[in-house]
């Protein structure tokens, strides 16, 4: 059964409509990537799933429940966590405090989970009292991932996790994404680095102009000549 199912999502900001009916499915344990040109509505789609952008028509179903009208603070309680593209940590809080905030709605104090996160991201364990605003881009991205993992999500939504990172750090982030997936967490990614993202994805979607364009298995999309010409640079 599908874990997340978005059907004919129409959404936008104020007068402007950005999504004109986007449908997408993520199954349990899958990595799914959305690619597409700038401004095609990838980020808006993510935001409408988590409730930051209001869905005008269409529906979002997660683990069998209709979460279309849920506000973000309620969506996160269903086991769906989201990492925005930029501004994805609390800059004036320390690394540890960021993780504590990630655990805000956990039943326990989250201390054991924080230690697990420090094990998964040893870079963060080195200076737990450092202000998040003082971290490098890569460390910040790791902290954002760790913060979202604090709630043991079933599905993790990552909006351009590689944005603004050097190729080496980018590789590390993709490696972590693979590790996270290996623990059974499903992932939905939006990526500019389409080639790397599709390589580790089970399936991929191509959006264009706020509509579905193509849908296929990750490697198949990589081999698709149209995708290659349009989005992979030749």
């Amino acid at each position: 059964m599908a874990l997340l199912e978005a059907r004919d999502i129409v959404a936008g900001y104020g007068e402007t409509q950005i999504l004109h009916g986007v449908s997408l499915v993520v199954n349990e344990g899958e990595i799914v990537t959305i690619i597409g040109p700038n401004g095609c509505g990838k980020s808006t789609f993510m935001k409408s799933v988590v409730g930051l952008v209001q869905v005008r028509t269409g529906s979002v179903t997660f683990r069998g429940a209709d979460i279309t009208a849920y506000p973000p603070e309620r969506v996160v309680r269903t086991g769906l966590c989201y990492v925005p593209q930029s501004a994805n940590v609390f800059p004036s809080l320390s690394i540890r405090e960021n993780l504590e905030m990630g655990a805000f709605i956990r039943g326990d104090d989250g201390r054991a989970r924080i230690d697990e996160m420090f094990g998964l991201f040893p870079d963060l364990a080195r200076r737990p009292t450092a202000r998040a605003g003082s971290l490098s881009g890569g460390q910040r991205q790791m902290l954002a991932l760790a913060r979202a993992l604090m709630l043991d999500p079933v599905l993790l939504l990552l909006d351009e996790p590689s944005a603004g990172l050097s190729p080496a750090i980018m590789g590390l982030v993709f490696e972590r994404i693979r590790d996270i997936n290996a623990t059974g967490v499903a992932l939905l990614l939006v990526e500019q680095q389409a080639r790397e993202a599709l390589r580790l994805s089970d399936r991929g979607y191509v959006l264009s102009g706020g509509e579905n364009r193509l849908e296929d298995r990750g490697p198949a999309l990589l081999d698709n000549p149209e995708v290659a010409r349009l989005y992979l640079g030749g």
Partner: protein
């Protein structure tokens, strides 16, 4: 013209000198190691000290060294007491700004309301059940005021939350901009002051008080015992706010929400509850500041809070809007400036001093002395 060329030529040269400082020295030699350590220390200082601290330190040093010989120390001490009252109000104001992103113009009138609620508790409520008194220990006021303080804080805290639900939350849900929010708070400011005038009239009122000896200290410093109470309570409250913001879950959530409300929501932080907590703390602090101001000025007037808005905002802006620690520093600077100015100008103009500092600062360094660059 020529002068400019010279400076342009000099500054990069100087920068180059400091960059190379200690670099070419042989490894392992005592002098070289020492210089390298010095260079590392300078770099660490540069990295951790924002220019704000340097400016703040320079201003403070100038202040102390330049004016000290000409200033009556008594005024400086008085200024710190006034600064403590400003800080108690300004910390709440800056927290509200940080979390809700608008200037709460009603904050001064929340202060006045706090003072009047305390007055009501002392002269009506407690007096009716036979609890009365003035001249508690060395202080002019009676111990009933100590009971009235937390009650006034609780009442104004509750009132601030109710007004958020009735007014501000509705506007928030319509996603109006900060100007509309500030105008709504201006309306509430007038309404709260009107309510005070309806209930307690516009006349000058006084808390029950008894004259007390002031303490005489060297250097011709005279401190009324009340001032020690005011400063002491302000210190306790500031420490309390610090502990709240850094040690408690709700305090950390307040800082997180101030950083990025959308991220707070997708993290699962109940931002509406955080906003209520911010109002309750800001309102409670305002009420206590109002009571302390009533003790300091030895009178209550419906306009006492409204007139106090300028020092409050001056302190908030001086410290960098949204930064509670900055507001504390700003409040002390403003308080001392206002009091010390009365040595040369009429005391009724001392609010103008706060206003002038605020304007100069807005022109020269709009993000405040301790404000961060983004």
């Amino acid at each position: 013209m020529a002068a400019r060329e010279v400076t342009q030529g000099w500054i990069p040269a100087f920068a180059g000198m400091t960059r190379g400082f200690g670099k070419g020295l042989p490894k392992g030699e005592g002098v070289g190691r020492g210089l390298r350590a010095l260079r590392a220390a300078v770099q660490r200082l540069r990295a951790t000290w924002s220019p704000g601290y340097a400016v703040a330190a320079a201003v403070a040093a100038l202040f102390v060294l330049g004016f000290l010989p000409f200033v009556k120390m008594g005024l400086v001490v008085n200024g710190f007491v006034l600064g403590a009252i400003i800080a108690t109000g300004a910390i709440g104001l800056t927290l509200i700004y940080g979390n809700l992103n608008f200037a709460n113009i009603a904050h001064g009138d929340y202060m006045a309301m706090g003072a009047y609620v305390a007055f009501f508790v002392v002269t009506d409520l407690l007096a009716a059940v036979g609890i009365q008194g003035q001249g508690f220990g060395p202080f002019t006021f009676g111990y009933p005021l100590l009971i009235a303080l937390p009650l006034a804080a609780a009442a104004v805290a509750l009132g601030a939350v109710v007004l958020d639900v009735v007014v501000y939350r509705r506007l928030r849900n319509r996603q109006v901009n900060a100007v509309v929010m500030a105008m709504a708070s201006l309306g509430l400011a007038i309404a709260v002051r009107g309510l005070i005038q309806i209930i307690w009239t516009g006349e000058k009122l006084q808390l029950p008080r008894e004259s007390r000896q002031v303490y005489h200290l060297p250097m011709d410093i005279r401190i009324p015992p009340d001032s020690i109470f005011i400063a002491g309570l302000a210190v306790v409250l500031v420490v309390g706010v610090y502990v709240l913001l850094t040690r408690t879950k709700i305090g950390k959530a307040m800082r997180a929400t101030a950083d990025n409300p959308d991220l707070a929501r997708v993290t699962g932080i109940p931002t509406e509850r955080v906003i209520w907590a911010t109002w309750a703390i800001g309102g409670g602090l305002a009420a206590i500041a109002g009571v302390l101001l009533a003790v300091f000025q030895a009178q209550l007037l419906p306009s006492m809070g409204w007139e106090f808005l300028i020092p409050l905002f001056a302190a908030v802006i001086l410290g960098g809007i949204g930064n509670p620690y900055g507001a504390l520093v700003g409040a002390l600077v403003i308080g001392v400036s206002m009091e010390v100015s009365t040595q040369w100008i009429t005391p009724s103009y001392k609010h103008a001093v706060a206003f002038i500092i605020m304007i100069v600062l807005l022109l020269a360094r709009p993000r405040g002395l301790l404000g961060r660059s983004n």
